[in-house]
Symmetry: C2
Subunit: 244 residues, 2 copies
DNA sequence: TAAGGTCTTTGACATAGATCAAGGTTATCG
DNA sequence: CGATAACCTTGATCTATGTCAAAGACCTTA
């Protein structure tokens, strides 16, 4: 949509799996150095996306998985009636596109919420490597299983009937994922609009706005535009019914 | 819970993957005869469960996947507050437990809704076989990916804000799955209570009951206890926003 | 730096579905 | 076969969140 200059240097784009700070979160987790180098030959293309650009769209033929290197993505479903539903947010170290393996076409569109970089992982080559490197097989199965769990967790989040519980659960999930990446669990920047949060949680933008106001009034969080500061992680956890 | 005599003959329990009528839906799909025999040596244990019996519970160590041979299962999450949430229903040919691969423990409990038979698939052995049989690797990845999709579809179902849409989507999903197994897509037996349907859809039992009454009054379906007959599949599809 | 657009906040009101309550039906098991 | 428990239906009322509306804050681009 908008064309925004991308400031990322070429160096970071050329960097290999071996030297990638995310390799503990991503595919090469637990691989030996030699195996990582093998994988590196497969994961050869890095791609830059500007904010608003699509990584792939519904119906595109499935060819590769994508590891988020930097930036932030949303995946969305397009309903028959034109309705858009956001089904996931993805941050660095997470792998996109595994749902398409079973149908050979992407079921969801994926869009960058900010300037981002992904690593292309051609799937045919990955499957070949998996046959050759047992520990890669092991890790890939865990990765897919983790995606199954992420989906179930989102569903449990949506099951919380009270809007407040859903938003609390959402904030906690972000908090956890930022923490896993070495960022502050209590202070972070929302990459998505209120509307996108509402869509993701099955609520309206107005409800999200009111909830942020209320949580702030109660002193649980501070929200200044997209900047969130969680003041009472424990109390926030207490608000969520079953999500963890 | 209740102990109900199981009438299934031993023969059907001993039957192999090769002769299993579900093998087009289950793991051995697309395998050669020799490879199916190899798989058969791994999938050696069949297990009977009476209605109300647990296949596994939250926290149990993960050791095997389970293919539903006959019967019907629900999987449920136990919230911190004692709240139970049903996260899935499973019918013959579907494979249970893949979410546990990534964490080595089962995250959800699984209970038989009627007398059932499952095939145990010890996971360590399966992973070994996958390294040996490329087409099994290919198929297993598709199977996991399919589970990712099932989760996303459930989520989209829950996103339909109107209760009516959710129930319609639920009925359609059952219809489709029965059809894929050679049963009538328009006439089938609900294996679960109204309460379980409500729980699964994020609605109360009263709402489910009222909806069935209304759909019946409108002539869309006939519901007699657990027996459902869909009179107008097209109109029912029209009711669902985005779920397809 | 100003104009335009996008995003957010807040208020008033409407409504779908939850909750509470009671009675009816069906299945289970001694 | 009859008692008991589990399950289901329907009605009356309440409430959280959606919807509609308007105004304010913030970013972007010229």
């Amino acid at each position: 949509m908008r064309s925004i200059p991308i400031k990322v240097s070429l160096d970071s784009i050329k960097a290999s799996c071996g030297s990638c700070s995310l390799h503990e979160l991503c595919l090469p987790m637990g691989l030996s150095q030699e195996d990582t180098e093998l994988l590196d030959q497969t994961v050869n293309k890095r791609r830059k996306l500007a904010r608003g650009e699509h990584l792939y769209r519904v119906g595109d033929p499935f060819q590769a998985l994508y590891a988020v290197r930097s930036g932030f993505f949303k995946t969305l479903h397009l309903g028959g009636n034109g309705r858009e539903k956001i089904v996931g947010f993805y941050m660095p170290g997470e792998v996109l596109g595994m749902d398409a393996i079973s149908i050979d076409r992407h079921q969801y569109s994926t869009m960058a919420l900010e300037d981002s970089i992904v690593c292309d992982i051609p799937f045919a080559e990955l499957e070949h490597l998996i046959g050759v490197i047992p520990s890669l097989q092991y890790h890939f199965h865990r990765l897919m299983s983790g995606d199954i769990n992420a989906g179930k967790r989102h569903m449990l989040l949506l099951d919380n009937t009270r809007a407040e519980e859903r938003l609390a659960g959402f904030l906690l999930s972000l908090s956890q994922r930022f923490a896993a990446r070495g960022y502050s669990p209590t202070q972070f920047n929302l990459r998505m609009t209120r509307e996108e949060i509402g869509n993701y949680l099955g609520l309206t933008i107005e409800t999200i706005s009111r909830l942020f106001s209320r949580l702030q009034k109660e002193g649980l969080v501070n929200v200044q535009n997209r900047e969130v500061k969680i003041n009472d992680l424990v109390k926030l956890r207490g608000m969520v019914g079953h999500c963890d």
